[in-house]
């Protein structure tokens, strides 16, 4: 077999008070796709930061051997110089610059500081062709979708003569289709001899492309599996240290009367006034029911939910919202909240949390009157509420005074959930509630959803992960291009059926 391209030996990295990595070993062979999996906070990202030199040599113990040579990277520049390029989960592109400008940012084809735009654009076109992106190099980053931005990042890596490509959860915010394309691209790179390290939560992806899987838990290497030994069950068992017999908690739905009904809901784009984003949607949710909304990225699911929640998205919103048969006014967020509607956003960092404040203040934010009298906050009551929800949703932190910015994705999501649970809604809209969080935390979120439904809440779950919808909902609406194109009970539904509804709907729309 091929030679070992990278070996990380006994890597130990400590932060004040925390041992993030202890004696982690990782060995990657030339030309393979090596997946690194582990729960959030297991230490994957820390390991990659050690590798790429974000944590400079000397701040950790252990050795990095790359192509038989021990390396002491002082910064990203050193590692990139050797052909090691990392693409972070949060993309590092400048939105108001063009694709070409982004790809060669800091690395422009220039003489005496004067940029040769023709050379840059010609090379960009060549790189874009390699990653299969059909866009003009002059297009601004802000005008292309996340999936395409991801490809631009990869093209940028290619421009640096990459030999070892590290992707940190590259498909976290991509649709199914874009994810597939990206994985195919990785396989293509493999044929060209580029070695990749793939960090992912999505085990089916790992299963599909990885030649080897290294599992990390609590800052330690648990095991490295070869292709023939890779199976989802095996990986999950190693990741969580116990076997998850069932990925979805069992529940017995007790479904009551219709709580929320939306009739003929239409929304136009906030900037392109003539573009109708939501086209006459009718849905309803019953008491104790979990309803899923399936669809591809760009189907308008988030836009629908946000326009419903106090007109937080879009213009010229028309339609009717009925709560228990009575029309209600949801024209502002506070009115929607007063009527018992809560929306847990898909992007918890941008829209869900105040990252520079602690858990306690975040939990009570949507229902401050609930912990105050005459607009004066009762500190002790607030503390009791925060501790109560910390326990109920199993937020793992040293105390409720921990900054939410320092929590892992799963725990952040539990804080956002707690915030809305404390607002005591009747209808809870959850937008991608398990995006970017690990298997163990997902199960906890599912358990919370099941408990809420059994308490009689009406729940809408928007998700791009079809197995998740099939696993936790009672009924599924399929959405495509701003329309509901299918409705099925969860017991009737299957991934195929959902996809078929989408494809049929696509035909109808065009």
């Amino acid at each position: 077999m091929a030679s070992t391209i990278l070996e990380m030996r006994d890597i130990t990295k400590t932060f004040p008070g925390v041992k993030a990595l202890s004696n982690v070993n990782l060995s990657v062979e030339e030309g393979e796709i090596h997946a690194v999996v582990g729960e959030n906070g297991a230490g994957k990202s820390t390991l990659m930061k050690v590798l790429s030199g974000v944590y400079a040599s000397g701040t950790y113990d252990g050795a990095i051997v790359y192509r038989g040579e021990e390396c002491h990277f002082k910064g990203i520049h050193d590692s990139e110089h050797k052909g090691i390029v990392i693409i972070h989960q949060e993309l590092a592109l400048v939105p108001m610059l063009s694709i070409a400008e982004n790809i060669f940012l800091g690395n422009e084809h220039a003489r005496f500081g004067i940029i040769d735009w023709n050379a840059n654009e010609t090379r960009t076109s060549a790189l874009l062709k390699k990653v299969g992106l059909k866009e003009d190099p002059k297009t601004l980053i802000t005008n292309i979708g996340v999936g395409k931005q991801q490809l631009v990042e990869i093209a940028k890596a290619l421009s640096k003569e990459v030999q070892l490509l590290i992707l940190d959860e590259p498909t976290a915010s991509l649709s199914e289709k874009d994810s597939q394309a990206l994985l195919d691209l990785l396989l293509e790179f493999k044929r060209q001899g580029i070695t990749s390290i793939l960090i992912s939560h999505k085990l089916n992806e790992v299963n599909r492309v990885a030649d080897k899987v290294t599992i990390i838990r609590d800052g330690r290497t648990i095991e490295t599996l070869a292709k023939k030994d890779i199976s989802e069950d095996r990986i999950i068992t190693s990741m969580v240290g116990r076997s998850l017999d069932d990925r979805y908690p069992p529940r017995e739905p007790k479904i009551g009367e219709v709580v929320l009904q939306v009739k003929n809901w239409s929304v136009y784009h906030p900037i392109h006034a003539e573009r109708q984003v939501i086209k006459g949607i009718d849905i309803n949710v019953r008491k104790g029911e979990v309803v899923g909304i399936a669809g591809l990225m760009g189907a308008g699911r988030t836009e629908f939910a946000m326009s419903l929640f106090g007109r937080s998205y879009g213009r010229r919103i028309t339609g009717e919202v009925l709560l228990k048969g009575k029309p209600i006014d949801v024209s502002s967020v506070s009115k929607a909240v007063e009527h018992g509607i809560a929306y847990v956003t898909e992007d918890r960092k941008t829209y869900g949390l105040n990252l520079i404040d602690h858990i306690k203040h975040n939990i009570t934010l949507a229902n401050l009157p609930g912990v105050s009298r005459h607009a004066v906050i009762d500190d002790l009551r607030e503390l009791a509420v925060a501790n109560d929800y910390k326990a109920k949703t199993n937020i793992r932190s040293s105390s409720v005074y921990q900054m939410t910015g320092n929590l892992s994705g799963g725990n952040q999501q539990k804080v956002v959930l707690s915030k809305w649970l404390f607002a005591n809604p009747e209808v809870l809209i959850l937008d991608e509630p398990t995006r970017g969080i690990d298997v163990g935390a997902k199960y906890e979120i599912y358990t919370i959803i099941a408990r809420l439904a059994s308490e009689g809440k009406a729940i809408i779950v928007i998700s791009s992960e079809m197995p998740e919808l099939l696993g936790i909902t009672d009924r599924i609406y399929v959405m495509n291009e701003g329309r509901i194109v299918g409705e099925m009970t969860a017991s009737d539904a299957s991934q195929e059926k959902i996809m078929r509804a989408i494809v049929r709907g696509e035909g109808k729309a065009s």
């Binding site: 106090g310 949390l353 105050s372 040293s398």
Partner: protein, 430 residues
């Protein structure tokens, strides 16, 4: 500075319970950072006490210090909220100048009859200040024009109107004594003075000014009551926490904190009492500081402002009316700018075209020295007040030392930079 003094939070969860010296030490470290700014102020005061051979803490000088800097601190209270909510207000100096000019015109020049009464004029001026804040806040909140630009425009506009009102370069005055009392007056001694050491009488039968020791007893009473109330409420808050099963900060630390604060307060009160009592402007300032501490720490509106500054989108999606809140923050700033303008005019005894010129920078500096973040969401009222006093003490101390005004600016600039660098360094370490 952290966003809130975290009182060594301990829930009933077993894993959290740690006993013994570790808790005390960690609490001390958190609190040292918290009180670092106050320690810095004390260090600066001690430094100038020596370099000015004891002039700094002389009762007369303390009164001067308060009267010279009160307007900065009053405006810093409003600026803190503006900066915490993620904005900036460059117009406060000009608004203060304009309001001073307006007040002078109303009291001295324009024939308004009974309306030219200082109290009536002051109230009208505060309302107009609020209106100016609303006018600027409207563009910032509802049209999303960057506050830097709106208030830069305001800075030019109101300085211009101020000068136009006063008719070019002239000053308007003198202002009535009743109005001047706002800045240069002292609270009346309703109890009556207590003479401990009779003043020395010289051969000509005249008393020597500054000799002897007569205490302003009302000041002493207010001081003692305030200190007792401070200790009582501190103890009571501790007891409530403990009754509900939460651990409060270590008792020794609480005692030390209370004793040091009380001793310092009583010392200052004694100094004021041995001169002419508490300056009225200090009382106004004290009440405002207490009010703003309460609003930011305990009231829902305060919490919402911090949330909005920390993440405006998340705050909005939590049902907070961010536009209205922004508007209110600027209205508040406008009212306090107006009050600052009245204090300046009252101290000078007249309105001058350059009143408050450049003071927006002192006000902003005070807030940043006090640990607020330029990104919004972080900052403390007490921090801004201490920051204001650090600037004030340095101005005053260096003037007494005879340091050239040019070099005073250099030193102030370095202190501002140093304070923020220290804060950022601390944050990254922690």
């Amino acid at each position: 500075m952290t966003t809130e003094s975290a009182p060594a939070p301990k829930s009933g969860v077993a894993e959290d319970v740690q006993q013994g010296p570790r808790v005390a030490v960690s609490a001390l470290i958190t609190n040292l950072r918290e009180y670092g700014l106050i320690l810095a102020l004390i260090a600066i005061m001690v430094f100038f006490q020596f370099t000015t051979s004891g002039t700094l803490f002389k009762p007369v000088n303390l009164s001067n210090l308060v009267q010279q800097n009160s307007f900065i601190i009053v405006m810093a209270l409003g600026m803190l909220l503006v900066i915490v909510s993620g904005h900036i207000d460059l117009s406060v100096g000009s608004v203060a100048g304009f309001i001073g000019a307006l007040a002078a015109m109303m009291m001295v020049i324009w024939p308004l009859g009974p309306l030219s009464n200082p109290l009536v004029v002051s109230i009208i001026c505060l309302i107009i200040g609020g209106g100016i804040g609303a006018a600027q806040g409207y563009w910032i909140a509802y049209h999303r024009i960057p506050s830097f630009i709106v208030t830069l425009a305001g800075m030019l506009i109101f300085r211009g109107i101020c000068q136009a009102l006063l008719g070019g370069g002239s000053s308007v005055g003198p202002l009535p004594d009743g109005f001047k009392a706002l800045s240069s007056g002292f609270i009346p001694d309703v109890i009556g003075p207590l003479t401990l050491i009779p003043p020395t009488v010289n051969a000509a039968g005249k008393t020597i000014i500054g000799s002897g020791l007569t205490l302003h007893m009302t000041t002493i009473l207010i001081g003692v009551v305030a200190v007792l109330a401070y200790a009582y409420f501190g103890l009571k808050a501790r007891r409530t926490r403990e009754q509900h099963g939460y651990e409060a900060e270590p008792f020794t630390l609480f005692v030390i904190k209370t004793l040091v604060t009380s001793a310092l307060a009583l010392f200052l009160v004694y100094q004021f009492a041995s001169y002419r009592g508490l300056p009225i402007v200090l009382m106004v300032m004290g009440v405002l500081i207490a009010l703003f501490v309460f609003v930011t720490k305990r009231m829902t509106i305060g919490r919402r402002i911090y949330a909005m500054g920390g993440n405006a989108k998340a705050a909005q999606l939590s049902g907070i009316k961010t536009e209205r809140l922004t508007l209110m923050v600027f209205v508040n700033m406008g009212v306090l700018s107006a009050l600052g303008g009245l204090i300046i005019a009252a101290r000078l005894g007249q309105a001058v075209p350059a009143a408050g010129l450049g003071s927006e920078l002192d006000v902003i500096a005070a807030v940043f020295i006090g640990g607020a973040s330029a990104m919004g969401g972080v900052g403390q009222v007490i921090g801004a007040v201490v920051g204001g006093f650090i600037m004030g003490v340095m101005n005053n101390g260096m003037s007494i030392m005879g340091v050239n005004v040019d070099w005073q600016q250099v030193v102030k600039g370095l202190v501002l930079l140093g304070a923020v660098v220290f804060d950022v360094y601390n944050k990254n370490k922690g």
